[in-house]
């Protein structure tokens, strides 16, 4: 028999007063799991009846995926879990907001810790029971509809723990927020603040870095919130949903299980500590602990002032004066607002001027630190002696994959494979970049660099290099010509295993595209690696590839390897395989050449795009295009072989722009469309009528310029 004052008797008594929380929790969980599952499954059945699935296996796989999406890793569930944590946590301890309730609960002979434990455990029971009942019903529904098997159930189990731990962190955060506040509104503010604070700080620091610093780079080193479960949850949910099996899902979630569990424990301990020290007279006040009022105020004012100031910075096109004034101004307003909230009294606007002064001064100091780069962020170039190695990306973006043929980003690949030891050219170029303006460079390229320091610290930065400046050529040759650089830039250098698994190989020169036996992949790679020893900066910037080898791997992974005229081993192989054709066309094979002159000199380039040319990243260059106007466009078709002979010497296939030469050496003013004769032996792609080419910049033949001049088509 349980004592009248035992834990479980108290728990039972507490549950009696949480009936509506029970009802809402069960309803919400049923909707979130069973409701969603039913919708998903009926949708799959409806699609199936419309013939969306070719085989029964496909249909069953879709049903299984629907069950996993609904019961294991559901992207909408974070909101439900957050809402439940808020409701259960706040309701459980809401008596602390009310003096009448506090007088009763704190005067009765019930141990404080026991009361905390009862309320806490009951909240957890409400979550667990409502979740497990909903999952149980959901699994039955799925099983009846043949939408679950062992693997699905295992993933549902993984998802249950994932969601439970997420709930725990949120639940404990809400309890902590209740403990440090005295009314519901402030609990919501503080709870919300605790959940997003770290992410907000990271976002603001990032925004300020990008606004005030020139060398900031998120290419290699990004600063992600370490403690934000929301970040973790949403950062992984899509990967989890698309996990092939329970092992793949487990690989993703297991590290978070430990992290979230520890985080939940720490927050719970903090909540309990605050509970045990919370004065009863805190009921109804804004903040339970008077000493924490200035702390919360400063902590809230700094991101508010900075955030709103940065918003003005963006709205005012980077005006520093407005940014500074708005940061301080919003800081002052935030101080006043918080004081009013603390006292629920408009007359308290300017109360506690010391803490307000500290908060506003902190905002101002942060602005000054960034504005005048007082930390020397942009000037940072590490000592060579302190460097272990360097990884960098010199405006080159290839395609990379891992051992499972899953896509890998170029930053991740070079970080994993590039350990440049000859660091001096990189440091020299980085230092030199601080003295040069990008707008003064003819061919400004961005270099993203990762400094690996001997201390273990990793620092990411970016700097600009003028590719066209001869003074840089030697330094760039030392970088690009280094074996470590090539290993971190070209996957073919190190990944022997993948090439043995090639599904198909073709060689193309922009016009032809001929197959090479897949079993020759290793042989071709061997020849290519020999030629790669010759590759350096001068080669890749002075020459354009004469062709490209395309290798298809599983999972739609495609590797494109540039072939240069100097690659004699590769070309010898290609010739032996009878797939090598020179990039320069034979005029005798051509039926006609149609040249379109867009007359960009008359077209408008948007101001933003013009400015973006100096920033010179690949994305921005793509944006930096002219607004074409049909009135200025002149098209002429050339039919003479003599004309073909002149044109073919100065054109390059538009489809074969190299990863090194991003197209800017080709004249964007002209489009060239070449139609081949039907009886030619040249193995051009006969599925199309012709091929697009571009002129090399500055090499457009005079007769083409004249023939496509404004008004020439009217003569």
């Amino acid at each position: 028999m349980t004592s009248r004052n035992s834990f479980w008797a108290s728990s039972k008594e507490n549950h009696r007063r949480r009936i509506w929380v029970w009802i809402v929790s069960v309803m919400v969980q049923l909707m979130a799991y069973v409701g969603i599952l039913t919708v998903y499954l009926s949708r799959i059945r409806s699609w199936n009846s419309e013939g969306a699935y070719r085989t029964y296996e496909e249909f069953i796989a879709a049903l299984h995926q629907a069950t996993k999406d609904a019961l294991a890793f559901q992207d909408n569930l974070a909101l439900v879990l957050g809402g439940m944590a808020l409701m259960i946590g706040m309701h459980g301890f809401s008596y602390l907001y009310d003096r009448k309730k506090v007088d009763m609960y704190h005067s009765v002979p019930v141990n404080k810790n026991k009361r905390f434990a009862v309320v806490y455990v009951n909240g957890l029971i409400i979550y667990l029971v409502s979740t497990l009942v909903s999952l149980f019903i959901g699994i039955i529904v799925a099983a009846v509809q043949n939408a679950a098997d062992g693997g699905v159930m295992a993933e549902v189990g993984l998802g249950f723990i994932w969601n439970l731990l997420f709930f725990l962190v949120m639940y404990h955060t809400v309890i902590l927020a209740v403990m440090v506040t005295g009314n519901r509104f402030i609990t919501l503010c503080v709870g919300g603040g605790l959940v997003i604070y770290e992410s907000v700080l990271y976002t603001l620091v990032d925004a300020m870095k990008y606004a005030f610093f020139e060398t900031v780079s998120g290419f290699y080193v990004t600063y992600e919130p370490k403690l934000s479960v929301i970040n973790d949850y949403f950062g992984n949910i899509w990967e989890l949903k698309s996990a092939e099996d329970v092992q793949s899902a487990a690989r993703i979630v297991l590290p978070y299980y430990g992290k979230w569990f520890i985080l939940a424990l720490v927050i719970l301990a903090a909540a309990w500590l605050c509970y045990s020290r919370r004065p009863s007279e805190a009921a109804g006040k804004a903040i339970a602990f008077p000493k924490m009022e200035p702390v919360f105020k400063v902590a809230a004012v700094i991101p508010t002032g900075i955030g709103l100031g940065m918003w003005v910075h963006s709205a005012a096109y980077g005006s520093m004066a407005l940014t500074a004034v708005s940061m301080v101004g919003f800081g002052v307003i935030a101080c006043a607002f918080i004081e009013v909230i603390y006292d629920f009294d408009i007359k308290s606007l300017f109360k506690h001027p010391v803490s307000s002064g500290v908060a506003v001064a902190a905002v101002a100091v942060i602005f000054l630190v960034f504005k005048f780069d007082l930390t020397g962020f942009d000037e940072y170039v590490p000592d060579a002696e302190k460097l272990d190695s360097i990884a960098l990306n010199v405006d080159y973006y290839g395609e990379y994959w891992d051992e499972n043929f899953s896509y890998v980003g170029s930053a991740d690949f070079s970080e994993e494979h590039m350990f440049l030891q000859d660091v001096e050219p990189v440091l020299t170029l980085a230092a030199k970049s601080r003295k040069e303006k990008p707008e003064d460079m003819d061919d400004c390229r961005v270099v993203n660099v990762l400094y690996r320091l001997k201390s273990g610290r990793r620092v990411g930065r970016r700097f600009n290099v003028d590719f066209s400046n001869p003074a840089n050529e030697e330094l760039m040759n030392r970088i690009v010509g280094a074996r470590e650089f090539k290993e971190g830039t070209y996957q073919v250098m190190t990944d022997e295993e993948s090439y043995a698994k090639a599904l198909g190989i073709t060689y193309g020169n922009g016009v032809t595209n001929l197959a090479i036996p897949a079993e020759d992949a290793s042989k071709l790679r061997e020849a290519y690696l020999k030629d790669m020893e010759r590759l350096d900066f001068s080669l890749v910037t002075e020459k354009r590839p004469c062709g490209q080898i395309t290798i298809k791997f599983p999972n739609w992974i495609i590797d494109r390897m540039d072939v240069y005229d100097d690659f004699e081993n590769t070309i010898a192989y290609l010739q032996s395989a009878e797939v090598f054709y020179p990039v320069e066309l034979n005029p005798e094979d051509i039926a006609d050449i149609t040249v379109t002159n867009f007359h960009n000199e008359l077209n408008e380039m948007p101001e933003q795009a013009e400015a973006a040319r100096y920033i010179n990243t690949r994305d921005v260059v793509a944006e930096a295009s002219y607004v074409y106007d049909d009135d200025h466009t002149v098209t002429k078709t050339f039919l003479e072989e003599e004309e073909f002979a002149q044109i073919t010497k100065v054109i390059y296939p538009a489809s074969m722009s190299s990863a090194w030469n991003d197209g800017r050496e080709l004249d964007e003013n002209y489009d060239i469309y070449i139609t081949f004769k039907k009886d030619t032996s040249y193995p051009y792609d006969r599925s199309s009528f012709g091929v697009y080419y571009k002129f090399y910049t500055g090499q457009v033949p005079k007769f083409v310029v004249e023939g496509t001049a404004i008004g020439a088509d009217e003569q």
Partner: protein, 301 residues
């Protein structure tokens, strides 16, 4: 016994209770009198273990009370606005308190409910203010704690109910040594209930005395002396707290037992004299005027 020693509590910058020291003896009805804001509720909330004193101690039968379950088992605190669970009835509250107080007497509780015509099934939310106070008192009495702390609980109770509660107090005091502590801002509400009274003002204790002692040791005498010499002789060596004169009729409030004062006045030549009983209010007026306070302003309004 509840011993309160140098108890101090400050809310932000306001000192609500300032070095209060009072001893509440067992098996007495202790009245805590004071104006609004005098610190009565704060003292009771500290005695009941709700608030933690900034300094000073509260010991219930030698046990510190804050955060101490054993000490709290001896107390039942009825706040000025007692809290009842939402949508609850008397039965719900009984179930809760009988789970919390091991000695809670359910039979007695339902018997008292009947006596006071309180429906155990009726929602407490529909009760009048007085009915809620009755219910809180009955819950407190039936919890069978040694000390019952009532904050303004008697204010507003009708005379019949007051009499009923008073009878129950008397019974419980006799049977199990209940010690009620009653805080009120109205002296008249406590006059017929308390044995001992403590007067709080501005967070401090002005006086704390047994009511009987006060009543026995202070007398009001109306008298017409034959001569001035007789007056001087009668009052020689008597502590006069207050003196009024209307024509030849003198009214004195003096310290001493009725017998002592009667004996003293019998020795002098008077035209008329009479020793009259003092109301609690008059006693307080006299006692506090001695220490420089105008009690009428403090608690009689």
């Amino acid at each position: 016994m509840i011993e309160i020693h140098n108890l101090t509590k400050t809310f932000e910058k306001i000192k609500a209770v300032d070095e209060v020291s009072v001893t509440i003896k067992d098996n007495t009805v202790f009245g805590l009198i004071g104006t609004n804001g005098a610190g009565k509720s704060t003292v009771l909330r500290m005695v009941s273990g709700v608030l933690k004193p900034d300094s000073g101690t509260v010991a219930v039968d030698n046990l510190p009370v804050y955060d101490n379950v054993e000490a709290k088992k001896k107390l039942f605190f009825i706040a000025d606005e007692p809290y009842f669970f939402a949508n609850s009835n008397a039965q719900t509250m009984e179930r809760y308190y009988s789970g919390v107080y091991e000695e809670f007497n359910r039979e007695e509780f339902y018997k008292y409910l009947d006596s006071f015509n309180l429906d155990k099934h009726r929602k407490i939310g529909t009760f009048s203010k007085g009915m809620k106070k009755q219910l809180a008192l009955l819950l407190g009495i039936c919890a069978h704690t040694k000390y019952l702390l009532c904050d303004e609980t008697f204010d507003g109770l009708d005379p019949v109910m007051r009499q009923g509660i008073k009878s129950i107090f008397a019974k419980e005091m006799e049977e199990r040594g209940l010690t009620p502590v009653i805080a009120s801002h109205n002296l008249r509400e406590l006059e017929d209930i308390c044995d001992h009274v403590g007067l709080l003002h501005k967070g401090g204790v002005l006086l704390s005395k047994d009511l009987e002692d006060m009543k026995c040791n202070i007398q009001k005498v109306q008298c017409v002396f034959s001569s001035v010499d007789d007056e001087l002789k009668a009052l020689n060596g008597v502590e006069v707290l207050k003196k009024e004169q209307r024509g030849s009729l003198r009214t004195f409030t003096v310290r001493g037992t009725r017998e002592e004062i009667t004996a003293r006045f019998a020795t002098v030549d008077t035209v008329f004299y009479e020793v009259l009983p003092l109301s609690l209010e008059e006693i307080f007026i006299s006692e506090t005027e001695v220490v420089g306070y105008d009690i009428k302003k403090l608690i009689l309004g």
